[in-house]
C-alpha cells in the first residue's frame, strides 16, 4: 500500500477545505486582484478532484507569494523567483502529488525568467500561475517586466524606457504545452482555466491578470475583458502553434492598448518530462518517494555494484 494515502483518494471535496483555519482571511489590500486567484483556485480543486493533502503549492515572494498562507494544502513558500525549480523536483520525487507553482510577474518573468524558460521547455507536468499585476506589489510599486512602456514609478520617475516582455509568446517559444490568460474580473473563466491547466499533462502556464489598486491606480482594472473563445471576432486553432503564436502576439499587444483579451491560446499533447525521462530509463517507474517509506525496500549497495571497477 502506498505510504501516501491522500494521493488519489476518492471522496467528496468541498472547496472550503482549502480555506486554512489559521489565516482564513487574506490580508491583501481591498480590491486586490489576488483575491480572485485564490477564489478561482479553491473553486477549481473539487473540479479536478484533489484534496489538500495531495496538493503541493509552491510560491515565490511577493504579494502573490502569500497565496500559500490563504490556501490550505502542503505548501512551500520559497524564495523570490525560485518556485519552479523547487516545484518540479517535488513532482519528479513523487509524481502522484499535484504540483502547482505560483508567483508574481516580477517573480516569474523578472528574476525567475530563466527557470520559466527551462521549466517550460522541459514540459514538467505541473501548473504555473503568474499573478500578473504589471507591477512589483510587495516592494511598493516599482516597474515590473510587464509594466507598459512609459510606466512611471518610483524607480522610473520619467517613465520606463523598456518594452514589456511578452509572457505568452515566451511560454510558447520556450515549449510550454498549455498557455492561457485569464483575469481577476473573470472568476468563472478563471476557475475553468485553472482546472484545465491542472488536468493538463505537461507544463501549463496561466498568466493571470490581477489588478493592483494600490500601486497601479490608474491602470485598467482589466475590464471590459473579452474571452477569445467566446468572441466571434477571433478564430484560431489552439492546437496550431503558428495560429496560437499570432493570437498571443495580438493579445499581448492589445493589452497595452487597453483591450483585455483572455482565454486559452495553446494546447499540445507532447509527453511530459516525467514520461520522457521514464522512457529513457533515467527515472524509476514507482514514485521515488515511496521507497523511503517501504520497510521492505531493497537498497542497492555501492560495494556490490561498483567496487569491482576499481579493483
Amino acid at each position: 500500500m502506498s505510504a501516501f494515502t491522500a494521493i488519489g483518494e476518492d471522496r467528496e471535496i468541498d472547496q472550503n477545505e482549502f480555506t486554512p483555519g489559521i489565516e482564513p482571511q487574506a490580508t491583501w489590500c481591498p480590491g486586490c486582484g489576488d483575491f480572485s486567484v485564490l477564489k478561482a483556485l479553491k473553486q477549481a480543486m473539487p473540479e479536478v478532484g484533489r484534496t489538500p493533502d495531495e496538493v503541493l503549492l509552491c510560491t515565490g515572494i511577493g504579494c502573490s507569494g502569500k497565496l500559500n498562507s490563504y490556501f490550505e494544502s502542503y505548501g512551500f513558500h520559497t524564495i523570490h523567483g525560485r518556485s519552479l525549480p523547487v516545484a518540479r523536483a517535488a513532482k519528479l520525487a513523487n509524481p502522484g502529488v499535484e504540483v502547482i507553482a505560483a508567483g508574481g510577474d516580477g517573480d516569474g518573468y523578472g528574476i525567475g525568467g530563466n527557470h520559466f524558460m527551462h521549466t517550460a521547455r522541459e514540459n514538467h507536468d505541473m501548473t504555473y500561475i503568474v499573478f500578473n499585476n504589471e507591477i512589483f506589489g510587495l516592494t511598493k510599486g516599482q516597474t515590473s517586466p510587464t509594466s507598459p512602456k512609459g510606466h512611471k514609478s518610483k524607480t522610473q520617475p520619467s517613465g520606463s524606457a523598456k518594452d514589456p516582455i511578452r509572457p505568452l509568446s515566451l511560454a510558447l517559444a520556450s515549449g510550454a504545452s498549455y498557455v492561457a490568460r485569464t483575469a481577476a474580473v473573470n472568476p468563472n473563466q478563471a476557475a475553468d482555466i485553472l482546472a484545465e491547466a491542472i488536468e493538463h499533462d505537461g507544463f501549463a502556464h496561466v498568466d493571470f491578470l490581477t489588478q493592483c489598486p494600490t500601486w497601479n491606480k490608474d491602470a485598467r482594472q482589466y475590464v471590459p475583458y473579452v474571452d477569445v473563445q467566446q468572441s466571434d471576432d477571433f478564430e484560431f486553432d489552439v492546437t496550431d502553434r503558428q495560429e496560437a503564436g499570432e493570437m498571443m502576439y495580438e493579445v499581448e499587444s492589445k493589452l497595452y492598448e487597453g483591450e483585455v483579451l483572455t482565454g486559452r491560446f495553446y494546447k499540445n499533447d507532447r509527453p511530459s518530462y516525467g514520461e520522457e525521462k521514464r522512457a529513457t530509463g533515467e527515472m524509476p517507474e514507482e514514485p521515488l518517494a515511496e521507497r523511503y517509506f517501504d520497510e521492505d525496500a531493497q537498497w542497492e549497495r555501492a560495494a556490490d555494484e561498483l567496487i569491482e571497477k576499481h579493483t
Partner: protein, 630 residues
C-alpha cells in the same frame, strides 16, 4: 626490486591519454601488491597544454603526494602543432619535458618521446647539462614511431611503459592484464605489441638507472583504486541518496558525473539543470517531497547556491551539498587546488548560519563523512555541506575493498509515517504542527506531501508552529533558538563519530593542525619530524561547524606551539580556530601555500623547522605567518 619508492610522472598534453595510462599503471602496481597514490596537474584546457600525473608507489603505506619524483615519461604535447588552425606555437610541445625539470630528484630517470620532442631542441633547453648536474639517466626513444608501427599514435604511452619495463625491471603482466580488460582484443593485442617493442628498444641502452621498482608483497586483502570523488559518490549512494541535481563545474563535476551515471541503475534520478540556483532549489524540492537529495558545485556555482542554502536553513529542509574547492577568487585557477572557500561555505547567505560543515581529510573520510552528512541532515533537518578540494577529488589511492562493505541507509530521517501523523500535534484547523516549540533534541518531525493529515507550510519567512508567517518577537526567539539549538546535539553526535584524526606521539612538544586534503601529507611530515628528533603530533580537523571546541582545546593545551597548515592566503582555518578558541591565538602560527600546487611533505617539514627556529622561509612558494605578538 628494491625498497625504494617510485614516483613516476607521465607528462604530455591534455587529451594525450595521460589520465587513462596513469590510472592503468597505478592499478597495475596496486594489483602487484604495492600501495599507490596519484597526483594530477593539468591546465584549464581541453587539448594540449602541459599536463602530468604522478604515481607514487611503495611497499609500505603511501598516503600522500611525495617530495618531487624520480621517473619521468615525457610524451610531448601532441596538440601543440596545429598548422591548419594557425595554432603552431613555439616550443609548447617541449613543455612536458622542460616543465618537469625542477622536481626530478637526483639520479632520476627521463624517458622522452623523440617522435615529438626533437633531440636538438632538448639539447637547446639544456637537458644534458642538467642531466649531468643531477645524475639523471636520459633515454630518448621514438615512442611515436613504435606506436604507429603497430597501431595508432596514442599508443605511444604504452611504448613508454615498455621502455620502462626494461629499464626499471617492471613486470608488465598486471599492466597487460588491465589493457585486456579495458580494450577489445584487437586493440589490446596491438598495445601489448607496442609495449613489447618498447621494451625491446630499451634493451639497446647500455646504461641502466640505479632506481628499480619497489618490492611488492601481496596485499592482505583485495584493494580498490578510488578517487575522493568516487568515495563521495559511493558514500552518497550508500547513504540512500537517490536524487542529485547539478550543473557542471570543475572539480565538482566528477561527483556529479559518477552519480548521474549510477543513479538510474540505483533507481534514482539525476537532473542536470539550467544553473546552480536551480540545482540547489531542486534538491530542496526533492527533499521536501521525501527523497534523500543532494546537490553541489565549486566556487562560483556554490556562490549561486547561497540563497537556496538559506532557505533550507529557515525551512529546516534536510539537504546535502558538496563544495569542491579550486583556486579562487572568481574563476581563479579552475584546475588547481586551494582551500580558500571555507569561510564562504561557513557563512554565505544572510542571517546567522545554521548549517553543518564537514571537511574530510582523505578518501575513507570522504565516504564516511558524506554518510554522516546525510544522517545529520535528515535526522536534524539541517543543510549539511561537505567541503573538499580539487586535490582530494582527483587523487587515486588504494583502499581495502572491505572498507566499502557497509549497509546502505534508506532511513528518511525525522519524517513521520501516516500512522504517526495521526497521533501528532495539529492546529485545531487540521494543519500539522511542523515547527513545534517543544522538541526532542530541537527537532520537530516533518511530513511530506501526499501524506494524509500532514499538510503544512514551509516558508523562508519566520513562521509559527504551523509554519505560517509570524513576526511575533517571542515566537521568533523560540524558533531561532530551536534551529540554533540543534548544534549542541549534533556536536555530541559528531563527537561519537570521531571525525578528528590524531597522529603522532601523545606527549609531544609541538602540534601541527590541518584540515581537509592535506591531512595525510601532514602526517607523513610528522613521521619525518619525529624521526629527525623533533617532538611533534598532529590533529586533522574535519568538523568545521559545529566546531569541535573541546577536542581542539585539549590538543592545543597539550602542546607548546601549534603550526596550522592550509592551502590559502589568509589562514582561514586558523582564523576560525581563533574565533572559536581565541585564547590560543598566541600559540598559533600558519604555514600557507596558494600558488596552485599542493604541499609536499618536505615543505611541511621545512615550514615546521622554520617556525620553531623563528627563521625566514627560504621557499617563496609558501608563506609563514607567526603568532600575533602579545
Amino acid at each position: 626490486m628494491t625498497d625504494q619508492e617510485l614516483i613516476w610522472r607521465i607528462a604530455g598534453g591534455s587529451g594525450d591519454g595521460i589520465d587513462s595510462t596513469s590510472r592503468n599503471f597505478a592499478k597495475a602496481l596496486m594489483r602487484s601488491g604495492l600501495d599507490v597514490f596519484t597526483h594530477r596537474h593539468y591546465p584549464s584546457r581541453i587539448r594540449g597544454g602541459h599536463t602530468y600525473v604522478e604515481v607514487r608507489a611503495a611497499s609500505e603505506e603511501v598516503r600522500s603526494r611525495g617530495d618531487g619524483y624520480n621517473v619521468l615519461l615525457a610524451l610531448g604535447d601532441s596538440f601543440a602543432r596545429n598548422p591548419q588552425e594557425d595554432a603552431y606555437y613555439g616550443k609548447e610541445e617541449l613543455k612536458p619535458l622542460t616543465e618537469n625539470f625542477d622536481d626530478l630528484r637526483e639520479g632520476g630517470v627521463i624517458i622522452y618521446d623523440e617522435g615529438l620532442i626533437d633531440e636538438e631542441q632538448a639539447e637547446e633547453v639544456g637537458l644534458h647539462e642538467k642531466a649531468e648536474e643531477n645524475g639523471w639517466y636520459v633515454y630518448p626513444v621514438n615512442l611515436r614511431a613504435i606506436a604507429k608501427e603497430h597501431g595508432r599514435e596514442v599508443m605511444r604511452n604504452n611504448a613508454g611503459i615498455g621502455v620502462m619495463s626494461t629499464l626499471l625491471d617492471f613486470d608488465t603482466s598486471y599492466y597487460e592484464e588491465i589493457i585486456g580488460e579495458v580494450f577489445n582484443e584487437e586493440i589490446a593485442e596491438a598495445n601489448r605489441t607496442v609495449i613489447r617493442d618498447g621494451a625491446g628498444t630499451a634493451e639497446e641502452f647500455d646504461e641502466h638507472p640505479d632506481l628499480q621498482m619497489p618490492t611488492a608483497e601481496e596485499h592482505d586483502e583485495e584493494q580498490a583504486l578510488v578517487s575522493g570523488s568516487d568515495a563521495i559518490a559511493y558514500g552518497s549512494l550508500d547513504a540512500g541518496c537517490r536524487f542529485i541535481s547539478g550543473y557542471p563545474m570543475t572539480p565538482w563535476t566528477d561527483v556529479f558525473t559518477i552519480m548521474s551515471q549510477n543513479l538510474p541503475k540505483f533507481g534514482g534520478i539525476s537532473e542536470q539543470v539550467e544553473d546552480e540556483i536551480a540545482a540547489a532549489s531542486l534538491a530542496l524540492g526533492a527533499s521536501h517531497a521525501g527523497v534523500k537529495a543532494m546537490s553541489g558545485s565549486s566556487g562560483g556555482g556554490f556562490a549561486l547556491m547561497s540563497e537556496p542554502l538559506g532557505l533550507a536553513e529557515m525551512t529546516e529542509t534536510p539537504v546535502v551539498l558538496v563544495e569542491a574547492m579550486r583556486a579562487g577568487p572568481s574563476t581563479g585557477m579552475p584546475t588547481k587546488p586551494e582551500q580558500a572557500d571555507l569561510e564562504h561555505v561557513l557563512y554565505t547567505s544572510q542571517g546567522d548560519s545554521t548549517r553543518v560543515v564537514l571537511a574530510p581529510g582523505n578518501h575513507e573520510e570522504c565516504y564516511e563523512q558524506i554518510r554522516t552528512a546525510f544522517e545529520i541532515a535528515y535526522d536534524y533537518q539541517i543543510p549539511t555541506v561537505l567541503i573538499y578540494d580539487q586535490k582530494l577529488q582527483g587523487e587515486l589511492r588504494n583502499i581495502n575493498v572491505s572498507f566499502f562493505d557497509r549497509e546502505p541507509d534508506g532511513d528518511p530521517g525525522s519524517v513521520l509515517t501516516e500512522d504517526e501523523i495521526e497521533e501528532a500535534a495539529h492546529h485545531n484547523s487540521g494543519k500539522f504542527q511542523r515547527f513545534n516549540y517543544d522538541r526532542d533534541k530541537e527537532v520537530s518531525p516533518r511530513t511530506v506531501p501526499g501524506q494524509k493529515g500532514g499538510r503544512y507550510l514551509a516558508t523562508g519567512n519566520e513562521h509559527n508552529e504551523s509554519g505560517h508567517i509570524s513576526e511575533d518577537p517571542t515566537n521568533r526567539v523560540l524558533q531561532m533558538d530551536s534551529r540554533l539549538g540543534k548544534f549542541e546535539y549534533i556536536r555530541e553526535e559528531l563527537d561519537e563519530k570521531g571525525n578528528q584524526t590524531h597522529y603522532g606521539p601523545d606527549e609531544a612538544q609541538y602540534g601541527i593542525m590541518t584540515w581537509g586534503s592535506h591531512q595525510d601529507t601532514v602526517f607523513e611530515a610528522v613521521d619525518r619530524l619525529n624521526e629527525a628528533g623533533h617532538s611533534v603530533k598532529a590533529l586533522g580537523v574535519s568538523d568545521m561547524m559545529p566546531y569541535p571546541a573541546e577536542e581542539v582545546t585539549a590538543f592545543l593545551e597539550s602542546v607548546e606551539e601549534c603550526l596550522v597548515v592550509e592551502m590559502n592566503a589568509t589562514g582561514q582555518f586558523r582564523g576560525l580556530t581563533q574565533k572559536e578558541l581565541g585564547r590560543f591565538g598566541p600559540k598559533l602560527s600558519s604555514l600557507l601555500k596558494y600558488n596552485g600546487n599542493p604541499f609536499e611533505p618536505a615543505e611541511i617539514v621545512e615550514g615546521f623547522e622554520t617556525s620553531i627556529n623563528g627563521e625566514e622561509l627560504g621557499d617563496t612558494t609558501m608563506k609563514y605567518v607567526p603568532a600575533a605578538g602579545d
